[in-house]
């Protein structure tokens, strides 16, 4: 009945699973390049996808601190996994971006800005925690004193098809961070996988248009109930991080001996910051031709765990692993709140999954609660 029209914004509809293919086609017809999860190199990565068959149907992940394995999932679901090592920041805030080219002409330097690139991406299967991570990167890169033109150009083009989580991994703690397992805002479409179809929440006009010819039906109370039930299971499957009073807890424990304990395990490899969907730190690389007539400045991802991150003329303000881990943890859970009004962690668990030694921030924060530093 409703197939000729499109649903209104904020409606909930149900479609058969095959209808997702039609949504993909509608997105492509509207000019979007689809990027979504697919299996590669024994992991679920984010890459260009063409069709429904490219999704990691039937796969899930066995994740623990320091461990990641793909394993067959339940019921042949399309979205029966959570998040792999990749996050959407590699598309919105790419690992490398040319800022400008400097050219010497008649002895004078001319600085030519690089035009921000703006591929028109549709992100398929954005998890609620990652949706929140995008919102946090927006806060840092768009809503500061000046917007970052490169991030902005990419961000404004993106279509977000969210996928609510019916499964949680052992490393997930979105419930604690209040970012999932259901997406509440910031998407164009948000789907919840049901045994026989998808429940889809419509978040925007564009989202609504992409449901054209999908044979959608308005969701019934029964559909909404089934979806809620599926998400509640994910909500219960999680580890915990108590978030009350985090800035005071961490700031008052800056000299706590536990930092030495975690520093003894941390390799300062930076994996956590690369896998983290909210980490936004970058550095710049300068290069030139052999004649010194053309120079380029490129922005690349950086990590507060790298040796020269805090280098100033011959000195390093954070020369130890202890000081770098302390910077990482206090930034995520304390100073991020001062800077941006919200905690900098979305509970996706990537940092502990991809940490070679399985350092788990929920446990590190807990250590300060269990035995806070004695007041001096």
């Amino acid at each position: 009945m409703a197939t000729a029209s499109i649903p209104r914004v904020s409606a909930s509809v149900v479609v058969l699973k095959a209808a997702l293919q039609k949504i993909f086609e509608n997105l492509r017809a509207a000019g979007f390049t689809l990027v979504g999860p697919r299996v590669r190199d024994g992991a679920i990565v984010l890459d260009e996808i063409a069709a429904l068959d490219d999704l990691p149907r039937g796969w899930t992940e066995d994740k623990q601190p320091g461990r990641y394995r793909l394993v067959p999932g339940r019921n042949g679901q399309y979205f029966g996994f959570t998040v792999g090592p990749h996050s959407w920041k590699q598309f919105l805030h790419p690992p490398s971006a040319l800022l400008f080219t400097a050219r010497k002409s008649n002895g004078a330097w001319v600085f030519e800005p690089a035009k921000p690139q703006a591929p028109q991406y549709a992100f398929i299967g954005v998890r609620p925690c990652d949706l929140k991570a995008i919102a946090l990167q927006d806060r840092a890169l768009l809503e500061g004193p000046v917007p970052d033109p490169h991030y902005r150009a990419r961000r404004r083009q993106v279509f977000l098809l969210a996928a609510n989580c019916g499964e949680a991994a052992a490393t997930c703690f979105c419930t604690s961070m209040k970012t999932g397992p259901r997406a509440s805002t910031g998407f164009d479409l948000a789907l919840t996988e049901l045994p026989d179809g998808f429940l889809i929440d419509v978040g925007s006009e564009t989202g609504s248009e992409m449901l054209q010819d999908t044979e959608w039906e308005p969701a019934t109370a029964f559909d909404l109930g089934r979806a809620t039930q599926a998400l509640q299971r994910a909500e219960r499957q999680q580890r915990e991080l108590r978030t009350d009073d985090l800035p005071r807890l961490l700031y008052s424990n800056l000299e706590h001996p536990h930092w030495d304990e975690v520093a003894a395990r941390c390799l300062s490899c930076g994996n956590c910051t690369l896998a983290c969907p909210t980490c936004f730190c970058t550095t710049v690389e300068d290069s030139s031709d052999l004649r010194g007539q053309v120079a380029r400045r490129t922005r690349v991802w950086d990590s507060c765990f790298t040796g020269d991150f805090s280098q100033v003329h011959g000195g390093n303000t954070r020369p130890t692993i202890r000081s770098r881990y302390r910077q990482f943890l206090t930034h995520k859970y304390a100073s991020w709140i001062d800077q941006f009004g919200t905690v900098g962690c979305v509970g996706c668990g990537r940092c502990m999954t991809w940490c070679p030694v399985g350092i788990d921030p929920t446990q590190e924060v807990k250590a300060f609660r269990v035995s806070p530093a004695r007041p001096k």
């Binding site: 600085f111 927006d138 991150f309």
Partner: protein, 288 residues
């Protein structure tokens, strides 16, 4: 294009990390390994529009080498001649050290917070500087001397490792004539040195202060500022009346890159000039 989100409009500062060509107008050797470079934008419109406040900094870009944050050390009343006292410490500054008058650099700025001269009116101003830390205080000093009567006593405690490390010594006499109480100390003297020997905080023992009327502005190595703060607090100067200038690694100067974080502060945004009371929980914490 998605409609589900609100993207802020682009401000006129379209490319915040793009330097603008600037020409070296003058180079003045100051002290051992330090020279003051006076720069001017090549584009006359940019040069005419540029203004800065005492304590702010610019990013100087040497193509293929990199970029450094350098405080403005010149008179804010003459914003067309931008003075930068540079110590040739790292690869970029050493590269700049090989340039000549007429050569070009990239310049963007000004960035950061400034000394609270608005709060200093009617008060005694105590400036405490170590080595090249006098550079970001010089614009404040010059501004104060222009309207000397607006302020109470103006004191400058200044020190360096050796007499050769002191900046702007050719201006000391003029400053004193204009009403600056100047006390200078060096850590290691040579046979020509007639002045005080010892670390800068010891200069506090040569002055008397009315702590309620006093505003402290200090810039130098962190360890020096730490002991300056001890001396100030010991004289009952309120922590809210103490301003420090912090240094951290900077790549973007506009809050994107994360390098300059100091607790909740981005030094490029909330700093480099910070009120001590606001950073006290972090200040002096090892490797923070």
């Amino acid at each position: 294009m998605s409609q589900a989100i609100h993207i802020p409009a682009m401000t006129p500062a379209v490319l915040p990390m793009l330097p603008q060509p600037a020409v070296i107008r003058a180079i003045k050797p100051e002290s051992y390994g330090v020279a003051t470079y006076t720069l001017a934008f090549q584009d006359p419109a940019l040069a005419a529009a540029y203004r800065f406040l005492p304590g702010q900094f610019n990013m100087l870009y040497l193509p293929a080498f990199g970029e450094v944050a350098i405080s403005l050390s010149s008179d804010p009343a003459q914003p067309q001649a931008l003075g930068h006292s540079i110590r040739f410490g790292g690869s970029v500054t050493q590269g700049i050290g090989r340039l000549k008058v007429g050569d070009m650099l990239g310049l963007r700025g000004p960035y950061g917070s400034h000394w609270p001269l608005d709060l200093a009116a009617g008060k005694d101003v105590l400036m405490v500087a170590g080595g090249i830390g006098l550079a970001p205080l010089r614009p404040a000093l010059l501004t104060i001397l222009k309207e000397r009567s607006k302020y109470g006593r103006v004191l400058l405690l200044y020190g360096g490792r050796t007499p050769q490390d002191l900046l702007y010594t050719d201006e000391f006499e003029a400053w004193q004539k204009a009403g600056v109480e100047l006390h200078v100390s060096v850590d290691w003297a040579d046979e020509n040195w007639k002045g005080q020997v010892g670390v800068i905080p010891m200069l506090f023992y040569r002055i008397r202060l009315e702590y309620k009327k006093c505003l402290v502005l200090t810039c130098g190595p962190e360890i020096m500022m730490r002991f300056v703060i001890y001396e100030a607090l010991a004289r009952n100067i309120p922590r809210e009346s103490i301003y420090i200038s912090m240094e951290r690694n900077m790549k973007c100067a506009v809050g994107f890159c994360g390098h300059c974080q100091y607790g909740p502060n981005f030094i490029c945004q909330q700093g480099p000039i910070l009120n001590f009371a606001t950073v006290e929980p972090f200040f002096g914490k090892e490797s923070f």
